[in-house]
């Protein structure tokens, strides 16, 4: 299944999302927290993101979900730093909503492109 990497500036926010999404998952896929600069410092680390992309790719590719600003820049740099070729995209979508949708719909035989489209719908979903 497609792997998911969570990139927030806050380690705790990332942990919370991963924990919450465990409850929502219908299938067992890898979702890793690549947030923060260690547990104490806010920020993002391209090397941690790169390593998390490698660890979460089981062959079907990886979708990276970010918060804002440098988390996107760090994720782009992380992709450039990958030593092997991975099918990976950064979703241009809200972090938490995207993670919730990914957890709910990700399943065997769903391609990265299909899952990416589902996640992108959260960009325009009205809440009211």
């Amino acid at each position: 299944m497609v792997g998911i990497v969570i990139v927030s500036h806050s380690y705790t926010v990332g942990e919370g999302i991963v924990e919450f999404c465990k409850e929502l998952k219908n299938h067992d896929f890898t979702m890793l927290n690549a947030s923060g600069m260690g547990q104490e410092v806010f920020g993002t680390n391209p090397l941690l993101i790169s390593e998390s992309i490698e660890r979460s790719d089981t062959g079907e590719g990886v979708i990276v979900l970010c918060d804002l600003g440098s988390s996107v820049m760090s994720s782009q740099m992380a992709i450039e730093l990958l030593s092997e070729k991975h099918n990976v995209v950064i979703a241009d979508a809200p972090l938490i909503e995207g993670a919730i949708v990914a957890s709910s719909v990700n399943c065997p035989n769903l391609s990265l492109e299909e899952l990416h489209l589902e996640i992108l719908e959260t960009k325009t979903t009205s809440k009211l």
């Binding site: 920020g43 993002t44 391209p46 941690l48 440098s70 820049m73 760090s74």
Partner: protein, 211 residues
């Protein structure tokens, strides 16, 4: 420039960033999230901690390893931005044991282009590029392979002018852009750290009499 000059220049630059931590934080507190100084100081300290190992390599590898050290320690946008610049320097000077003057213009240009690409930004957006683009253009114009000291003295002045320029303009990139017109009146922290780097380089080149 030999290895010991190179090491001293890096050490001096990192120390200057660290001693300007509070200034950078206070500028960033006005138009960003207040941590540019802390982030840059953490990255500079990480380089200083590994200075011997980092400078005991070819120049190209040294810049590459410094990039890796920065991006894994800075945390904010300045990590990937300065990290990309250092990686581009590493690529441009790959295999060089010393910095060949004829490669310096291309290396500088590649580094600045790397920052433009990483930040999807350009001149006039109230960023470090408002210092680095004019400095890079000036370097290409002035440097003739034998006037490193005079050239960097000029770049140091150009950097300060670049910072002044950012005071009067509105931010259109980064967190400061959320403030719109309210970002006018404050110097950009990234431009300021770039100017500090240029001045440090200039002072080191002078005091070491680097050719």
């Amino acid at each position: 420039m030999d290895k010991s000059d190179f090491k001293a220049i890096i050490e001096n630059t990192c120390n200057n960033i660290i001693s300007n931590k509070e200034l950078l934080n206070s500028l960033d507190a006005k138009i960003g999230d207040g941590d540019h100084g802390t982030n840059m100081a953490r990255g500079s300290q990480a380089i200083l901690d590994k200075l011997e190992t980092l400078t005991d390599l070819t120049i190209g590898d040294s810049f590459n390893q410094m990039a890796m050290t920065l991006i894994s320690s800075v945390g904010g946008a300045s990590g990937p931005l300065y990290g990309t610049a250092l990686m581009k320097l590493g690529m441009s000077l790959k295999g060089q044991d010393d910095i060949d003057p004829s490669l310096m213009k291309k290396a500088f240009t590649d580094a600045v282009d790397g920052i433009k690409m990483r930040g999807k930004s350009d001149y006039g957006c109230k960023t470090m590029l408002d210092v680095l683009i004019p400095a890079c253009e000036e370097f290409s114009l002035l440097y003739d392979g034998s006037n490193l000291s005079e050239t960097f003295n000029k770049l140091s002045e150009t950097g300060k002018k670049g910072v002044e320029y950012t005071v009067g303009i509105k931010a259109t990139k980064g967190r400061a852009s959320y403030l719109g017109d309210r970002s006018i009146g404050t110097a950009d922290p990234g431009a300021t750290s770039s100017s500090i780097i240029l001045t440090s380089l200039s002072n080191s080149i002078d005091s070491l009499e680097v050719k």
